[in-house]
Structure formats: C-alpha cells, structure tokens
Amino acid sequence: MMRRFRRASTASSKISINPLPPTSPTSDQLRPWQFFTLGGLVCATVAVFVIRGTSAENLILVCLGVFAAALVGLAALNALRPLVTGETREPEMVGGNTRAAIEREKNLVLRSIKELEFDHAMGKVAEGDYEEMVGRLRSRAVRLLEQLDKSGSGYREIIERELASRLVKAGTTSLRDADASRQMAEGKGQETAAQDFSPGICAQCGTSNDADARFCKSCGTKVLALFLALFIPFSFFLFPFTTPAFAQLQMPDPKQMSGIPRPVTDLPTGHVSVRLIRGQLSNNIQGHPVEIHAGGKILTIKTDENGRAQFSGVATGTTVKAVAVVDGERLESQDFPWPGDGGIRVMLVATAKGGEAPLPVFQPVAGNVMLGDQTRVIIDPEDGSLQVYYILDIQNSARAPVNPSSAVFMDMPTGAQTTTILRGGPQAVARGDRVTVTGPFAPGATPVEVAYRMPFDTGDVTIQQTMSLPVPGLAVLIKKVGDLGMTSPQLPNVQEREFDGERYILGQGPAIPAGGILTLNISGLPHKSPIPRRLALVLALLMIGGGTWAATRTPSKSADTGRTKQLTTRREKLFGDLVRLEQQKRAGDVDAARYAERRTTLIAQLERVYRDLDAQGGQGAVA
C-alpha cells in the first residue's frame, strides 16, 4: 500500500514549520521517491553504457534527462495517488487553521512587538500611540498562544480519550500507558520540522555563393543554386540545344537582379538596404547618394564602403522605390511597400564602364510571342511549403523587337504566396498573384523567372496553372523527399532519376495550348500531423470544462448523508489504525520515531474527520 507523506509541526511555542522528508511510517518497504531514484540510477547507468564514447557533456545531459523522466514518474504518481487511494496529506490542525499557520502568525506578532519596542526606544513613536499599538499586538499574541494551547484540549483531547478507552477495551494497555505514549509522541513531534529566391544569393545574409552551393557559405541557409546545379546536367538530356539565356543561369548577371526588392530577416524591422554596384557584385559604388522616393518625400543617404545605404523611418506599407543616378544613368527599383515585418534589400546595378557596346536600335513591330521549349517548372519541397520556380522562355521568332497587342499576363495558382520576379525585371512585374511581362520583346529569347511559395498542411497539394501562352513542351522537376510522388494529366512521362546521390522526379509532356491548364498532383509531402496538437487542445478543454462543471455543482442533501456515513467509516478506520499502532509500539514492532510520526498523522486525520463531522451536523464528538 502506498504510504502518505506528511509534514510535522510543533506543539507549542517553538517555531518549527519546516517540512519533514516524506517517510513511510510503519513499514520498511520501498518508498516511491526511493523507487524512482533507484530506477533513475539504473536507467542512467544503462544509458551511459549504450551511448559510451560520446562527449562527456552529452553523457551528463542524457543522465539528467533520465533523472528528469524519473522525476516526471514520481510527480505523476503523486498527482494520481490521492484520486486512486483517497489518501491525502494531512497537516496538523488547530481549530480551523493549520498549526504551521498559527505558529507563523504568532512569530510575526512577536516580531512586530519587538520592532515597536525598538521604535519606541529610538523615540519614533509617541508614548500614547505606543501604549495603544503594543497593547493591541500583545492581545493578539495572547490569543494566538491560547489557540496553540487549545490543540491539546479540542478535538485532540476527545481523540486521545477515545483512543485510551478503545485501547482499554482492546485489553492491551491501561489508561496511564496510553497517556504516556501520547506524551512521548508529542515530545518527538516537537523536534521535527520569408524565403529568398535569388540564384546563389542567400536570402538571410545576402552573401553571394558559388554556383553549386547548396547552402550559404556564410549562414547555412539553403540557396537556389541547388536547382541551377541540379538543372544543368538534366538540361543536356532534356534540351540538347542550350540557349544563351540558359548559359546566363550559370553565371547570373547582376544587372538582371537590379531593382528587385528582396524581403530579408537579417535587417532590423522596417529597414531597407539599397546596394549600389557597377557591373559586378564585387564592384561596390561607395559614397554615392541613393534616394528612397516615398510618395512626395525623398530620403537620401550615401552608400557606405560596402556600397550599401540603409534607410528607415518610412511608415509601414508606404509604396516606395529606390533611385540612384550613376554617371547619368538613372537606376530605379520596382515599387514596393515599406516592410513592416523584417527588412528589404534592393540592389541597383549600374552599367559597367567601357562594357557592352550599345546594341543596334530596332523599332518594335506588332507581333506575338510564345513560350519556348526551354520553359520548365522546378519544385523544391520545403517544410510546410513548396518553393515553385517557373523558368519561362519567352520566344520572339521575328528579327525585330515585337510589341504584342497586350501585355503577357500569368496568374499564379490559387494559394500561391510571395510571388517574386527573379529574372526579367523591370520588363516583368509581379503584383499580387499576377505576373505581367510587357513588351517590346527582343528578338530571340526573353528569359523570365518567377518564384512563389505554395504552403500546405497535409501531404497532398494540387497546383493548377493556367498557361497564358502556348507551350511546345514542358518539363517539371521535383526533388524526391520521402514518399513524394507526382502525377499530372499533362505530363504522361513521369520518371525518377538520381543525381549526386539524391533522387528527383521528372515529368515531361506534350504541348499545351494558350489557356490550357497544367495540373500537378503532388502527394506524400513531408508534413507535421496536426492531430497531437488538436488532441492536446481538446483534452485541455475537456479538463477545464469538467473542472468548471464540478466546481459549480453543489453537493445535494442525500450526498450529505452519504458523506456523514463516509466520515464515520473513516473515523472508525483511523481509530482502528491508531489502536493497532499502539499495539505495535507495545510489542516493539515499530521504532519510536516512526511511531511518533505515524501517530501524529493519524490524530491529525482524525481531527479533520471530527471537524468535518461537526460541519455535517455535530456528530463528531459522539464516538
């Protein structure tokens, strides 16, 4: 049987309200805390043996973890035991209060009297006030002393008398013996007490990484270069005729990134950093003024040694753009809203001096464009979302620039978030979920790259993309993660391939006409099940609901009768235990300390039963 824990306290004026360690009063059987300590030691030993060879700090932490688990076990047992066994922890009671509370109160009143006497001696309290205040405090102290003394004459006295008579009835002792044992027990008692999409450029820190880098060399964030590196070998068997535009993918031209706002988290909230370079990333323009146009206001800051100018102080959501004029060349960013969450980095790229020769100027003519066979979709499954990249190969087969009758629109699928133009700006602009590419289109290929995030909660996602331009053939590439699979009515040829030790799913299909829909059904995505969390929330709600119901429900009259019966039974049981304890003491089966402790506990429980019986209808005193 599980034994109860208790706290002992003193009988009289000695202050002793400190808890005793939990003990089992009458038996030598293993106590719960001993059991869990031993269990913890054994498990920790086993764990250390199993993971031997790892670092010392790991071994220490594993041991701590094991002991924490043992502590959880012990605490769980303590939480459940009162419900299962009905045993509760009984402090010694004096009237309606615990003895500890009265002892504490008395001590505080005595201290207050001493303080007042001291104040009086220091000349800080007038004579009359002192008399009144000290008188009041002394009366209170005397009442508390009386209250403490009553502990021997209230319920306790009734209990002692009843015990003595029962012991006599049991024929084991005389009244005098019983009284002596009570005194001894009392004597003993007194002594106890947001994502980045720029190729190779890291979203987190803006570092330029190698083309084949999977993670940023500076901060470890995954970078888009993975896909570029991955895509290159595939392109050989997919598209035997690599275009110049694709060659640019391998060595990104900073000019293509010019003016594209990039939300980042490494800047203070509400800050925008504009970087000014000439031609190459390594060629920062220092000490040059950069402007932020926010409505009618213009903020100007000069670039620092890294070519960066950092702005703040514009109201969140204000549409702004960064502007710089370098050697007469006006550089402008796309319009973007001032960030309210994180910061934004923008790069303005001036044309390299003495660089490319000016291209011959052709007047644009009316005509149409279409998507070329280099168009593809690349999907990177991430945690909770898919990063989807459209590499659009807009083809103008004419010799002169073409200006279509209307701009090329492409609406991203439902659910797409943070649509961003990676390449092709400022000709291509993303506003909300719509990407607009305006003419004129140069002869040949106009590469445009768009990225968006498609969040998911379950393991299945369907992406439906309406193609605004006809596509002669399409390839979709998705990294294989876990049991991921992909089907699409438009991509009859789906196969798995391995590259660099990792698996990818490649889907290829025939031409899709303008207005046709590409449907991608992606299944088996790694995701976190919401069930445990929901279960915890439901359980918590049930607990609180149940608690509220129980708290508001008042016990009925019939329940009172039942309660009286229950208390009477408990009183008899406790007296039985007490008599047995006295008999054990007499027979020398229990040592003095345990006897005293157990006896105090039983009497405290009996006091409580008597008081409860009194509260039920005054039957306590009649044993």
Partner: protein, 825 residues
C-alpha cells in the same frame, strides 16, 4: 529528440489544464483528494518542464540542427557555454524558459506555503497553472521551440548573434526573467486571497519574500543590462531609455512601491486595496514587458521583431488578466476597507504614500513615453521618437525627490511626529546635507542637478548612519555588548529594517554614479600612429592599428597608450570585430577602470591603408559607483531575505564578508594601475573637434538615424552615420541656420519628426508634454480625495480599546509572552 520534446510540451499543457480544473473543483467542493491531486499535477508540470529543458539543452550541446531553433541560435564552433545559454537566446526558447522558471518557482512557493496558507493554495495553483497554460499555448500554436526541418537538415547553424556572446548578456536575460516570472507568485496569492475572501495580512506575508526575491533579480537584470550596454554597445552610456529596457523597469517601480506600502498595511491595516492593486499592476506590467519585447510593437535594438499574431494573443491575455483581477477587487471591496486612518502628514505612512505616488508616476510616465511613438503612429500615422532628453527632463527631478524621501521616511514616526520628535530626528541628517551643499557650492559644482544630488545623498547617508548609531546604542544598553557587536546584532535582529537601510545606501551610491554623468567628457578624434590627444586629465596616444584573425572573426584592434596628468596609466586596445557569419561588426571597447572615473575608448571607424583610426575618448566620472551601489543593494536584500535560522551563522560569518567587501573596493581602487612618468610629445598633439554650444545642443536634440544603434542622440552615438550627421549639422550651422532651422531641416529630410529626440510640442504631440502634468494632477486630486475620506472616517470612528481586561489566565499568558519576547533576542 525533437518529437519527444514536443510531446512533453503537449503533455505539460494538458497536465496544466488538469491542475487548474482539479484545484478549483477540489476547493469549491471541499474535496481534499482533488486539491491534493491538483497540487501533484502542478508539481508534475515542473517535472515535465525540467525534462523539456534538458532535452532542449541537449539538442544545443549535440548540435541537433534538425531543430530550427537550434539551427537559428547556435553553430558547431560556438563555445559550450554559449550553446547552453542559447536556450533562452531566441523568442521560442525564451518563452519555454519562462514556463520552466515559473514552474520551478510555483512548485517551491506552493510547497513552502502548503500548510501555512492551506485555504489559498488551490487557487494559487490554479492561477499559476493558468498563466503557464497561456505561455504553453503560445508554444503549441505559434512558437514551438522543438519545430524541426522536415526536408533538408542544414549542415551547420547560423550562430548566436555576436552581441549576445557576452557573459553579461548570458546572465542578463535569465536574471530579468527570474525577476519578471517571480512576480507571478505574489499575483497568484493575491488572486487566491481575493477569491477566497481571506483578505487579512496573511497572504501579504506569504508573498513579501517572493516579491523581494523577484525584485532583486529584476534589479540585477537591469544592472547587468546597463553593464552590457556600457561595455558592449560602445556609446559610453549605460541607459538609453530603450523601450525594452523600460519594459523591465516598469514592474520594478510598482514592486518597489509595494514593499513600502505593504509596511503600512502590516502596521496600520491601511492601503489594502492599494496593495492588491500594486500586486496586480506589477504582474500585469511583467506580462506587458514580455508583450513589448516579443510582439514588435515598439522599435528596439532588443526586440525579437514584429509578430502580429503573438501581439494579438498577448493582448487578449492581458485584457483577461485585467478584467479578472480588477473584477475580483471590485467584488471584494467591502472586505478590503481600511481599519485605520491617516492621522498626520508628518508620519511614516504619509511618507510611504508620497513614495508610492512618485513611483507610480514614474511607472506611468515611462510607460506612456515608451508607448507614445506607437500611439502617435496609430493615431496620426507619424512615427516619432521619444528619446533620452524627454525622459531625463522628467525623471531627473522625480528621482531626486525619491532620493530625498529615502532620507526622510525613516526619520518619521508612525501615526504622527511631534515637533520635538522631528527636531530630534532631523537635526544631524540636515546638518550633513547642508554641509555638503555648502561644500558643493564652494567647490563650484553645478547646483542642478549634480549639486542637489550630492547634498541629498549626504542627507540620506546621515539618516542611515543616525539610525544605525542610535539603534546600536540602544541595543548595547539592552544587551551589554560593545557597539560593533550591537550594530551587527541590530542588523541580525531587525533584518528587514536594517537590510532595507543597506539597500538605501546602495541606492545612494547609484545616484552618486548617475550624478557623475553630469561631468562626463566625450570627444571623437582621428589619430594616426604616434599622434595623441588630450581630454581632461587624460592623454591618449595611438601606437598602431593591427588586424588579426581567428576561426570566427577578423579583429581590427587599435593600440593606444593612456596617460593621466602626463603619467602612463596603461595600454588600451579598443577594437572592431567582423564576424564571418554576421554582417554588422561589433564594437569592443577598452575601459580603464578607476574608483573615481573610467577612461573609455571606442574605435568607431578606421582606415587600414593610412593606419588611421577615429577614436571616441570618454571620461566617465563615478560610473563604477553604480555597480558598487547595486552590490550593496544586493547585500542588503540578502540580509532581508535571510531566513531566521541562518542568523546565527550569518553573525559568525559577518566579519569575513565585511573583509570581502572591503577587499573588492580596494581591488577597484587598485585598478588605477601603476603610474610611470612619461614624456608627452606635444608636437603630435591633435586638437579636438570643438563644437559650438548650438551644435552640442543640436547633438542632444537629434538622434542617429542609422537604425541599429537604438536611437541614441548624436552626442552619444559612435557609429559612422552619427559622425556624418554631426558633420552635416556643423555644415548647417556654418550656413547660418539656427536651432529651429536645423530641426525643420531634419523633419523635412526624413519626412517626419523621427530624427528628433523629443516630439515637437505642437498638435497631437502636445499630449506627450501634457501627460506628466495630467498624471501628476490626477495623483494629487486622488490623494486629496482619499485623505479627505479618511479624515471623515476619523471623525466618526470609535477609539479602539488598547487592551482587553486582564484575567488570571491572561496574567499567566502575559508572563509567558514576556518570556518569549525575551527569548527572541
């Protein structure tokens, strides 16, 4: 490991809900079983949080970068110490750490008070578990610290912010958290007292020590924050009224007010509603502080960034707390009626009333000024800055008033002081204060505000010395020992009173440190090797600029030699560290500490090719007295917190501790270092950039717009942007622009009043200037109303009988009482 951690958190949430339900249902139904089970569940929450914390620390130590939180705040080369402390380095972990601390404190508080406050405990458990549930809910819904990468696990983490890789910053947050979390315990007891109607003084006694414990940790956290700002941020100051710093200060004010007003309730059974209100306000402000830091509602160098969802959840929780707690106060108002009245304004209780009014004024003023930019932006769309000048304008006189009260309060008697009594008590402290004032005037020290501060400090020290002296004399008479033993015995016997006086000594020392800031000298100059410049008594010579490298950073270090009055006092090495994984370089200041002042060098910028460096030279008088003052405060608080039975032990150890303290002071004094004669090359002296009074005034009124320095004013900021702005101001002044023109120039340039350290007293912003007057007026009216009410009651009240008629039994008990009182010594 992450899955296990997540399931532990889920279980903790469910167990918490059970603890709330079982305790309340048990208390309402009188079921001891349910109450005991609820308490058991409450301890189970603690055990589960210990386990979750061990799992989190293990994840950091074993570099488990599959956990996002570990990836974000640690990396493989991070020293073990910082790996462990990264646990509370970020938002998610700090919330978990919060619950862990609350669980530990809650368990201890419940266990300690389980028998002595039996009727309150079920509700204490329910309230604390309710607060835990809120924070656990945040973790489960929004900020799961065990969230993992599902697809690709990064090979290495991002690493802890270099600014946080500092020992002060490692101790500062947990210390603040202990302070903030600890305030939940008094709140829980207060709520339990209100719910059960047991509104006598018992609950106050249960929470007094807890509040003091939390308070000293809060003070420690704030002081560590100051030391960190002083040593790590490199702007030569220690308190910039940053919103997050202010957030920690708010509950400090109300908790300090509580310590004082609680004495009035204990002695005179007055201010009962007020004390409950202070406990509620303190708890509310701790939650508000957490909300400010984590929701991104205010702009600060410390904040975790904007987080609208979290802001919303916190707002709902704060509204629930306010409605629930003040609803209970209103419900229980009849039980909270004061049983005594204010007899005279020349009384201790009146001094405490004024002290409370000032502290509450401080709390509301700081809260309002901190939130004003946010309020202004929400209402007018214009973001403003309420910078240090605005705060200092109000807090300086208020602080001095508080200092004076620290000296006056202990001299006044409870109830009322007679004229003779006042003369007897005030004579010597006033002599001390007046003598210092005359001395200060004779030495030509500025009267406002340093001179007044010195005089008030002398007055307070006079008061405290008098209290110790007179107390020791009385004790010597009663115990027959020598004066020194009597003084120690005095502290041991009246730990709360004399510990409190020691805390006051600490406060005086801190004020002396603050007053020293009035004599601060700060200059910036560009030096090349061999060149030197002079600031005050100090001459600083640049020897070299060197670049070194280690695994994680590149270090650019300036080598300087410092001289005082021509004698070399040592080498100093201010530096800039450029961490490979972090863009922003860190400033490593060089400080030469002396008992009377610090020489403080910062290297804001440098040119490697020319070997030149711009260096900020700051002479900070008396600054170390702030840190010494805190140490004294901590010592005083420890005396107050010492349990009864340790008194004998403390008595035995006291001389040793005194020796340690003296040793520490000697060590600080010896930090001045050896002095050697040194020839100063005058021909290489570089004159300082001399600013006109208008320029200096403008430097104080305009803040740095670099966005990363925490909106310091131009006089204090050491970044290159501030240097540019100072140069710009010099240009504008040269163009003939006056103060108003320059202010208008910056308002036009940035399109708002954001670059101004204080909002212009016009339009909506006038509210910022009116508020302190409004709150002061309101306080005066409310005070007058309460006193009037008390006076009326006084007229109709019946005198209380001093003593009950004595009986024979009573005489025996009185004799026993006298014996027990004698034994108390």
């Amino acid at each position: 490991m992450a899955t296990l951690g997540y399931f532990v958190l889920l279980s903790t949430f469910v167990v918490c809900s059970y603890a709330v339900a079982a305790s309340v249902a048990g208390a309402r139904r009188g079921s001891k079983r349910l109450v005991d089970s609820g308490i058991g569940a409450f301890h189970l929450v603690t055990a589960l949080m210990v386990m979750a914390s061990v799992l989190m620390v293990q994840a950091f130590v074993t570099d488990d970068f599959s956990i996002r939180y570990v990836w974000k705040y640690s990396d493989s080369v991070q020293p073990l110490f910082f790996k462990i402390t990264s646990y509370w380095g970020g938002l998610d972990g700090s919330i978990m750490f919060w619950v862990f601390l609350l669980a530990c404190f809650g368990s201890v508080a419940v266990q300690v008070n389980r028998d002595s406050h039996r009727e309150l405990i079920p509700y204490v458990v329910a309230v604390i578990a309710g607060v835990q549930m809120f924070f656990l809910f945040l973790m489960l819904i929004h900020n799961n610290p065990f969230d993992t990468f599902l697809t690709a696990v990064p090979p290495d983490g991002k690493g802890l912010n270099p600014l946080l890789q500092n020992v002060y910053m490692v101790i500062h947050p947990p210390s603040l958290y202990i302070g903030l979390v600890g305030m939940t315990i008094p709140f829980a007891f207060g709520m339990a007292a209100l719910i059960t109607g047991h509104l006598d003084d018992a609950w106050l006694r249960a929470v007094r020590r807890w509040t003091m414990f939390a308070w000293i940790f809060l003070s420690f956290g704030l002081t560590l924050g100051m030391i960190w700002a002083y040593e790590e941020l490199g702007w030569g100051g220690f308190w910039g009224w940053d919103p997050v710093e202010n957030a920690g200060l708010l509950p400090w004010f109300t908790a300090t007010a509580f310590f004082h007003s609680v004495m009035v309730q204990e002695r005179r059974s007055m201010l009962r509603v007020w004390n409950v209100t202070l406990v509620i306000l303190t708890f509310f402000l701790t939650i508000f502080a957490t909300f400010m830091t984590r929701s991104g509602i205010v702009q600060s160098v410390h904040s975790f960034g904007e987080n609208p969802e979290l802001a919303m959840m916190f707002s709902v929780f704060m509204i629930v707390v306010l409605v629930f707690s003040f609803g209970l106060v209103i419900y229980r108002l009849p039980l909270l009626r004061a049983s005594n009245e204010l007899d005279s304004w020349a009384s201790r209780e009146a001094a405490f009333l004024v002290n409370n009014w000032i502290l509450l004024f401080c709390a509301f003023f700081v809260l309002f000024a901190t939130m004003f930019p946010t309020i202004s932006e929400a209402l007018t769309g214009e973001r403003l800055t309420v910078g240090p000048p605005f705060f200092n304008r109000w807090m300086l006189p208020i602080g001095l008033m508080l200092l004076l009260l620290t000296g006056i309060g202990p001299l006044l008697a409870w109830r009322k002081s007679s004229v003779e009594n006042l003369r007897y008590q005030f004579l010597w402290p006033t002599v001390c204060g007046a003598t210092t004032a005359v001395l200060v005037l004779a030495l030509g020290v500025r009267v406002w505000s340093s001179g007044i501060c010195f005089a008030f400090s002398a007055f307070v020290l006079g008061t405290i010395s008098q209290e110790f002296w007179r107390g020791a004399v009385i004790r010597r008479k009663s115990t027959g020992t020598d004066l020194f033993t009597a003084a120690i015995g005095l502290v041991g016997r009246s730990r709360r009173r004399y510990g409190g006086y020691i805390v006051h000594v600490g406060i005086v020392l801190m004020f002396l440190g603050f007053a020293g800031q009035g004599f601060k000298k700060s200059e910036q100059v560009l030096l090349k090797p061999g060149q030197q410049t002079t600031v005050g008594d100090y001459t600083v010579r640049m020897d070299a600029l060197r670049i070194t490298q280690d695994d994680s950073k590149q270090m650019v270090t300036g080598h300087f030699t410092a001289f005082k009055n021509g004698k070399e006092i040592g080498k100093m090495y201010p530096a800039r560290w450029l961490f490979h994984k972090h863009e922003e370089p860190t400033t490593e200041v060089a400080i030469r500490r002396m008992w009377d002042e610090d020489l403080y060098l910062v290297l804001p910028s440098y040119q490697v090719n020319t070997q030149s460096a711009s260096v900020d030279i700051v002479v900070n008088p008396l600054i170390n007295w702030i840190w010494v003052g805190f140490a004294v405060m901590a010592f005083g608080t420890t005396i107050v917190l010492l349990p009864e039975r340790t008194f004998a032990f403390a008595m035995a150890k006291f001389p040793a501790e005194a020796a340690t303290t003296a040793g520490m002071l000697l060590l600080m004094a010896s930090l001045a270092g050896p002095a050697f004669a040194q020839h100063v090359e005058t021909e290489t002296n570089v004159p300082l950039a001399i600013y006109s009074p208008l320029e200096r005034e403008l430097h104080g009124d305009i803040i740095c717009m670099c966005g990363t320095c925490g909106r310091k004013n131009l006089a204090e900021c050491t970044c290159s942007k501030a240097a540019d702005m100072r140069a710009e101001i010099t240009g504008l002044v040269k163009e003939g622009k006056n103060h108003e023109d320059v202010i208008q120039y910056y308002v036009a340039k940035y399109g708002s009043q954001e670059p101004l350290a204080s909002p212009i007293d016009k339009g909506f912003n006038r509210l910022a200037w009116l508020f302190p007057y409004a709150i002061g007026g309101f306080g005066a009216v409310a005070g007058a109303f309460v006193v009037r009410k008390w006076s009326r009651r006084s007229e109709t009240s019946v005198p209380v009988l001093a003593t009950a008629p004595a009986s024979a039994d009573d005489a025996a008990l009185q004799a026993r009482l006298d014996r027990e009182l004698e034994n108390l010594d």
